[in-house]
Symmetry: C2
Subunit: 231 residues, 2 copies
């Protein structure tokens, strides 16, 4: 599939916009995971699925990711994470703390990007957000803060530090977790699902470890956006 | 959609077989809920979805349901259930006990029906089972007992009396539960999901009460059978 792909920059944040054939189109924001960037395979893969359903999709590099510089603090936290991974220590507390800092930086960036995108004649209608792992750590406070986002798909994160924002979210949510996640205990995943204030929310659990999340959950998230953003 | 529908009887059990255009076809057995029968709307609706994906589907009347006579014991348990519903007492203990008795009667009936269906030239390949509520109470011991069933979609039931059979099931399972079920506590639904011995299992939770299970979960179950029975 040939994606109609357009690069953009807002301030010093590089981004990419994918457009479907029929315009104007509703928009889904794609938040990438830790260590990834705006054009890594999960982003382009989800963009393809969304564009095929008539959505526009947009991704930006998170702070310290992709083409963006790392601060000394970024370097320090990434080194701690890598050391924990190598020694088998729990990586959760570091990820939770570091991603909360990234979210504080990334939320206003996403909001400025959304301001720009919603000015384009190619974009019209409701906005969704789709992001797992760090994409949830950033997307949960973003969705809580920005009423323009009216449906969101999240997953694979701890409740610590994001549960308060999750409680303020009232738009429909689809949440994915892994039943045998070696990093995120079951109770933690269920607690984050429970935290969302949304009257309409769905939880998808699959057996397997953290990285075994089935590919078909991306199709499921796209169907979720079709139900909520195209009615 | 015009369903190619064929009535049959095995012993004193009335059943119906729906066939797709392309034959022979893999088969999904449909177990109806309490108070329903082989041709009630959830059965014909799911049959339509399955036939559209190239599956044959079959349903039979459970003991004491549809065109089948009720025993004095059936009458007694149904009266107790209706009284509990009317007075707001917990209906779970009665349903669990009564459905366990129905399952003891229904499992050998399903197995005789399956013997007959697998002799038909129109049926070939793997077999699935799909049933919620009483359809799970019967389907869980059936799937545990019959190795011809190689994928199963269940939901909306208590772990009491079926958890032991669930532990013996090792084929892929998709399980649906309601987060705000007024009859089945969350912990009970999660405990039944956890009980399945399957290495590959998925849980779909949605907000809402017992009868609010979203229609799109039937589409999801059909996709589950496509993944597991048509590969």
């Amino acid at each position: 599939m040939n994606l109609n792909e357009r690069d953009f920059t807002v301030g010093d944040v590089p981004g990419v916009l994918w457009l479907p054939e029929t315009l104007p189109a509703p928009l889904v924001l794609l938040g990438h995971g830790g260590g990834r960037d705006r054009k890594s395979p999960p982003m382009t893969g989800r963009a393809e699925l969304l564009v095929a359903q008539g959505f526009a999709a947009a991704a930006i590099d998170a702070p310290g990711h992709g083409d963006r510089p790392r601060s000394p603090y970024d370097d320090e936290e990434i080194a701690l994470m890598q050391r924990a991974m190598a020694t088998g220590e729990p990586v959760g507390p570091i990820v939770v703390r570091y991603n909360a800092d990234l979210a504080r930086r990334a939320v206003p960036e996403w909001q400025a990007v959304l301001d720009m995108l919603l000015e384009l004649p190619e974009i019209a209608g409701p906005v969704g957000y789709f992001g797992l792992n760090m994409g949830s750590a950033i997307g949960i406070p973003l969705t809580a803060a920005d009423s323009r986002i009216t449906a969101a798909a999240f997953g694979l994160f701890w409740p610590d530090l994001v549960a308060e924002a999750a409680k303020r979210i009232t738009v429909p949510v689809e949440f994915a977790m892994q039943w045998d996640d070696e990093h995120i205990p079951r109770e933690a995943g269920l607690a984050l699902f429970e935290a969302f204030g949304s009257a309409e929310k769905s939880l998808h659990v699959n057996t397997g470890r953290h990285k075994d999340l089935p590919r078909y959950e991306a199709d499921s998230a796209v169907r979720f956006f079709v139900r909520h953003l195209k009615k």
